[in-house]
């Protein structure tokens, strides 16, 4: 081992250097880089889409009903065809990105925040607190999540906020359990013990020593989970218990296009493709993160381009 270590290049990577290292590693993995680009485009659509194309996407045009894709006669907005009311598919897919992203991002962010906080407490506190929190998680986990979603949405009504709430609740245990398990393990590690022996306060131990070690795992899971939540939202909307028209999401669009499958396949195809591209990107990026964030595996990505591998 000693000579392997010695022959390794001693890379100086302080401060800013380190910040630049990640994008550089991303560039080297073409799949991950393409995923990041796709996600960026989706994000831009979600932010600017409704303002730019909101009106076009909801204006009906009876002559453009179910107009086929790749026909530029009606203008570039109809490049993906028109829907059953003659609205341009491209505009609708772009506009629908907002609700789809908002629900997924909102649910993942709240689940991540609440789950991590509870997990940190459960992992760092005594046995009793931990037991209560974990049993709570077990109860949520043992509920059929789709059922909870249906019941809650049925009662509260299906708005974006309620969708976020429902999906967040069902995802909290994932973060809670991961965080707790990691905290329990990291807490026993020698560097945490060393910090405690030096007099570090619990807050310092958690923020400076435990959280930075757990964070990459959590971010990786959250990326993966983002895809999962998107699929769940789509499924709910598809079943007619999620977002309701005139609001649109990709899942709802697939559902609306279903009756026209044989006559106008593009109605269900494009939003489905949008879902797949986004979730695929999230999955690929998450796989990349798993390696990039692991100091023991990172060299795989660094070595690839440096030519000595």
């Amino acid at each position: 081992m000693a000579n392997i270590q010695a022959s390794a290049p001693m890379t100086e990577a302080p401060g800013r250097e380190r910040l630049l290292a990640l994008p550089r590693m991303l560039w080297r993995d073409k799949f991950a880089f393409a995923s990041a680009v796709v996600l960026l485009v989706v994000l831009l659509c979600a932010i600017f889409g409704p303002a730019l194309l909101g009106d076009v996407a909801s204006s009906q045009n009876l002559r453009g009903r179910n107009s086929p894709p790749f026909d530029l006669a009606r203008g570039w907005l109809y490049v993906l065809g028109g829907d059953s009311l003659g609205r341009p598919m491209l505009a609708r897919v772009i506009v629908a990105a907002r609700n789809t992203m908002m629900v997924a991002a909102g649910a993942v962010a709240s689940a991540l925040l609440v789950g991590t906080a509870l997990g940190l407490i459960a992992g760092y506190r005594g046995k009793n607190t931990s037991q209560v929190i974990m049993r709570l998680g077990d109860v949520i986990m043992s509920f059929p999540s789709l059922l909870i979603a249906v019941v809650v949405l049925y009662i509260l009504g299906s708005s974006v906020a309620n969708m976020i709430l429902v999906l967040a609740i069902t995802r909290v245990p994932i973060y809670m359990r991961t965080t707790r398990a990691e905290v329990m393990e990291i807490r026993e590690r020698m560097f945490v013990q060393a910090a405690i022996a030096m007099g570090a306060s619990p807050g310092r131990v958690i923020l400076r020593h435990i959280l930075p070690v757990v964070a990459p795992t959590l971010i990786t899971i959250a990326t993966l989970d983002f895809a999962f939540v998107m699929l769940a939202e789509s499924a709910l909307s598809f079943l007619g218990i999620g977002i309701q028209p005139p609001e649109i999401t990709w899942g709802l669009m697939v559902s609306q296009g279903r009756p026209y499958l044989t006559s106008a396949w593009w109605l269900a195809f494009w939003p489905g493709l949008a879902i797949i591209l986004t979730t695929l990107s999230l999955n690929l990026l998450s796989n990349w993160m798993r390696i990039a964030f692991d100091p023991a595996q990172r060299w795989r990505l660094e070595a690839r381009s440096s030519g000595n591998g």
């Binding site: 000693a2 392997i4 022996a197 007099g199 400076r208 020593h209 591998g309």
Partner: protein, 538 residues
């Protein structure tokens, strides 16, 4: 040439890693005869295990590549045989035992089945295999043989597991046994038992024995011949006596000089004021008593070593004093104030004055913090040194003091070797100018030569800064060189304590005597004397 039981000739093995090719061994040649014990001595990374793996066909190819060489056994070059032919030799004619018997036994099958398997794999009938199992287990000294066969690996102790591995390896009376660090994970007393078992079995069967080790003591105890390896090459070869008394190669000289336990025994200064006074400290986990009524006194400038085998409670003692674990009863007075009942603010102040250095520096440094951050963390915690420029200067000073260079401050722990990491840990400890440093097996994970350097560093700091040490270790040699007072622990109790000189020269408690007798001396002559003394009942 052809008369040797096994000979390795000009073997070169290369590992292809993502960071480029690494030559693990370069043109290595050695041989072993029937009835002979050959020791392959080397530190980590020396390539000492590689040729054994090549003999057993255990190298993963790729990433490994056998670049050149041959391994002659029974007139054949093993490297030219087919997989199936080599399989028939493995276990039957050449057997191997390993360092970590728990990991090397399959956790989900009973040990009886696993031992019988080596025989059925080579064509024995199941009934015969079973009968032989009983015989073997009796021979290696496993109690309650009939039930033992049905038990699983996790139900045995570490020493018993190594005996099981030996029984398994010897089931088919192989011509050659390769033992890769067979006693490294074991306590000294168990180590002595396992080595003498190996010696007896070799005498009974006349097999050749290749013993791979990093420990000069093991070589002195058991080897007929020794091959010293460094950086993938054999640097020296000869009898243990020749090598020990007349080392020719610079590396061998360094290795022998680094062997602990030969320096002058330090004398204490018992007149200084009391720093730490531990009274009747006890700690239990459920039914298990980890620490029972431990009492001792540490004076300023004193170095107390706490020695004991695994499970003796020596680490629990240290952790209880530092309040990393709550003690059940007793007190630990730091400058007259009981640490165990201190309010948080006072405890914080006390923790500034004492510091701990852990066994494994890889784990005791936060991998995501730079060396600068690691060293200066104590100042953050205690609100010291607010001036950044002053901090930088002090970090530089500390790095130089522990033998590193100032530019190391911006690097991260994984960029350093094990010895360097322990130096960083020491620099971190010194940053708060502590009066007491508690070392929990601080050098036992390090190679002998690195170990010696770190001990020298600690000794120098003790002299320059007047720091007191509580030095927990299982290696008696290191203790003898470093401590002025020794506490011996067994099963949670302090069985004996006194000046180092007295403990080593006239141990009173039978356990201390046993411990000292079991310890291996790197000098083959001394070790032979010890072995004979142990053999003749007094």
């Amino acid at each position: 040439m052809a008369d040797y039981l096994l000979s390795v000739r000009n073997l070169s093995v290369r590992f292809h890693t993502a960071r480029g090719a690494v030559d693990a061994v370069r043109s290595v040649s050695w041989h072993v005869d029937r009835g002979e014990t050959l020791a392959i001595l080397g530190e980590s990374g020396s390539g000492k295990s590689v040729s054994a793996s090549a003999i057993m066909n255990l190298l993963d190819i790729p990433p490994a590549e056998i670049v050149s060489g041959e391994i002659l056994f029974g007139g054949q070059d093993l490297l030219k045989l087919s997989r199936e032919e080599r399989r028939r030799i493995n276990g039957k004619r050449i057997a191997m035992i390993f360092q970590d018997p728990l990991g090397h036994l399959n956790p989900v099958y009973p040990v009886g089945w696993q031992i019988a398997e080596i025989m059925t794999a080579h064509g024995s009938k199941p009934e015969d295999a079973r009968r032989r199992c009983l015989e073997l287990l009796t021979r290696v000294g496993i109690p309650d043989v009939d039930n033992a066969l049905r038990k699983y690996p996790h139900q045995f102790s570490g020493g018993q597991r190594q005996r099981l591995m030996i029984a398994m390896a010897l089931a088919l009376k192989p011509d050659l046994l390769i033992a890769d660090e067979p006693t490294t994970a074991l306590d000294v007393t168990i180590q002595a038992e396992v080595l003498s078992l190996l010696r007896e079995l070799q005498a009974e069967t006349g097999m050749g024995l290749v013993l791979i080790t990093h420990d000069l003591g093991v070589v002195a105890d058991i080897a007929d011949r020794v091959v010293v390896m460094n950086h993938g090459e054999i640097v020296e070869e000869g009898s243990p006596r020749d090598i020990y008394h007349n080392p020719k190669h610079a590396y061998t000289k360094k290795l022998i000089a680094a062997a602990p336990g030969k320096g002058e025994i330090p004398a204490g200064e018992p007149e200084a004021d009391v720093l730490l006074d531990v009274r009747s400290l006890s700690k239990g986990y459920g039914d298990f008593t980890a620490l029972k009524e431990a009492s001792f006194t540490l004076r300023r400038g004193q170095t107390i070593a706490i020695v004991g085998e695994s499970g003796s409670g020596k680490s629990t003692l240290a952790r209880s004093i530092l309040r990393l674990e709550p003690a059940d009863s007793g007190e630990a007075r730091w400058k007259g104030r009981d640490l165990l009942k201190m309010p948080p603010r006072e405890l914080l102040a006390a923790r500034r004055q004492m510091h701990m250095i852990f066994q494994d520096p890889t784990q005791s440094l936060n991998p995501r913090m730079s060396v600068y951050q690691i060293i200066s963390e104590g100042w953050d915690i205690h609100g010291l040194m607010p001036d950044r420029a002053a901090r930088r200067d002090r970090v530089t000073e500390l790095l130089v003091q522990v033998g590193l260079s100032p530019e190391h401050a911006l690097r991260y722990p994984h960029q350093f070797s094990g010895g360097q990491r322990q130096r960083i840990a020491i620099a971190r400890a010194l940053a708060l100018e502590p009066e007491l440093i508690i070392c929990d097996e601080a050098v036992s994970a390090l190679d002998v030569s690195i170990q010696a350097q770190v001990i020298t560093l600690l000794g120098r700091l003790r002299e320059e800064l007047g720091i007191s040490f509580l030095f927990i270790a299982h290696d008696l040699g290191v203790v003898r060189d470093f401590a002025d007072t020794v506490i011996v622990m067994k099963a949670g109790e302090i069985v004996e304590q006194g000046p180092t000189l007295q403990i080593f020269d006239e141990p009173r408690h039978p356990y201390t005597q046993r411990l000292l007798a079991a310890a291996l001396d790197p000098d083959p002559d001394v070790q032979e004397g010890r072995r004979q003394a142990a053999a003749t009942p007094s």
